[in-house]
Symmetry: C2
Subunit: 232 residues, 2 copies
Amino acid sequence: MIAKTRGSTSEFVRMKLLKDIQDGCFLPSERLTTEGLAKRYQVSRTPVREALIQLSQNGLVDATANSGYELHRATVPELCEIYEIREALEGIAVAKLIESGPEPGVIKELRGYCEARRNAANMLEANIADRKFHLAICHHCGSAMIPDLVNNYLVLSTTFNLTPPLLVDDYVHDRKVNTEHDAIVDAIEAGKGKLAQKLLGAHIAFARRELEKLIGKKTSPAGKKVRSYVTQ
Amino acid sequence: MIAKTRGSTSEFVRMKLLKDIQDGCFLPSERLTTEGLAKRYQVSRTPVREALIQLSQNGLVDATANSGYELHRATVPELCEIYEIREALEGIAVAKLIESGPEPGVIKELRGYCEARRNAANMLEANIADRKFHLAICHHCGSAMIPDLVNNYLVLSTTFNLTPPLLVDDYVHDRKVNTEHDAIVDAIEAGKGKLAQKLLGAHIAFARRELEKLIGKKTSPAGKKVRSYVTQ
DNA sequence: TCTTGACAAACTGTATACAGTTCGCTATAA
DNA sequence: TTATAGCGAACTGTATACAGTTTGTCAAGA
């Protein structure tokens, strides 16, 4: 293997794969063969397999016995569930953050992400700032488990390709998001736990309801797998 | 390998390992070598490694690079976090369960677990019934993700050995648990979503507060790892 | 007595070989 | 033209060999 300086090969492959997935090198539902990835990263199949097993444990890769692995494509019902769970987890996080009396640096960091999102040149940049905002709240709340969980959900979400109908009203949605982020930071700074929790909850719930509208249903019926909602 | 009829060897090892861990075949913090487990299950090291990687992804096994694996021992702060997250997730679950209009069979199943817990001959049996009760609510709520998450937290919790001080007031605690379970099922049957959510939340929060009392602190300080609270 | 360094055993991590399965293709028959 | 059986390529899953790392032990020196 080439240029492996840090950590194990298995770890190296997992990181590379994660990065490549987020960079859009693979299409959702694309087949990921151990041999192909081994060649791609110049390693043997063993660490590739281990990386795939880890990612499939996180739901990012779908594994079929004796058949292979493919990049997961998040479905609308799945995304709704993710929003539902995030609403609860990030609610806990923001409450804990305020309870612990956040350092000024944290507020500053959050304001920075708000600013970055406002100044984003495109949706990609906006999304990055958005993710950093939500993750920062989790990272500073004092919980060891919540950041990992939420981060995983955010990565999972990226495997759902935004469809044109959603992008249409992005601009309106966009400004709303920025305002809401600002209000959340204000509440955190003021130490208003309940308010922050309510605002953050509503903020995430809004995104979920937009999605639910899209498929014309009130609750996510989980279990039913839908391969694709959009024609490529 | 011997008597492998269903699934892959890797899956077989994972299941066996999980069962053996729950059956107390290994002590928390006990070293789990790939070679030892390979001999134990009559397989090669490869599937053992894969199983260990999966379990370490779930937090049930601690992995150290180039050093090895050991059975995780849940700490009090960790357990507090788990209760906190379970409170939120199971809250969602019970709300969804009621919203979906649960079938009579579900109520019957839950009552069965209440009864089983009441009639349990010892704490082990009581705990099994308890777990089944909480998991059933998750399994029937229509979510695909929540049951897996909660189940994982329940397994993780078992790696914390109950200490004598906790067991002392088991009897009192025990009857309280039974009563609370009954009340939760009543609320579900009556379709009172908010009430059920409140009762279930309080039920889990009580256990968390008991733990917090034990270490004389209000919030879980996450991050700090404590190896053992009890002398063996 | 305590520290330090070298050695050796034990084990992890990776590569590779091989066995077993899946799946698509093609040829044959209805 | 369509259905089906059989074949073969491609890939997964497992075992094993080997390289690399860690860790404990023991002896030498301060």
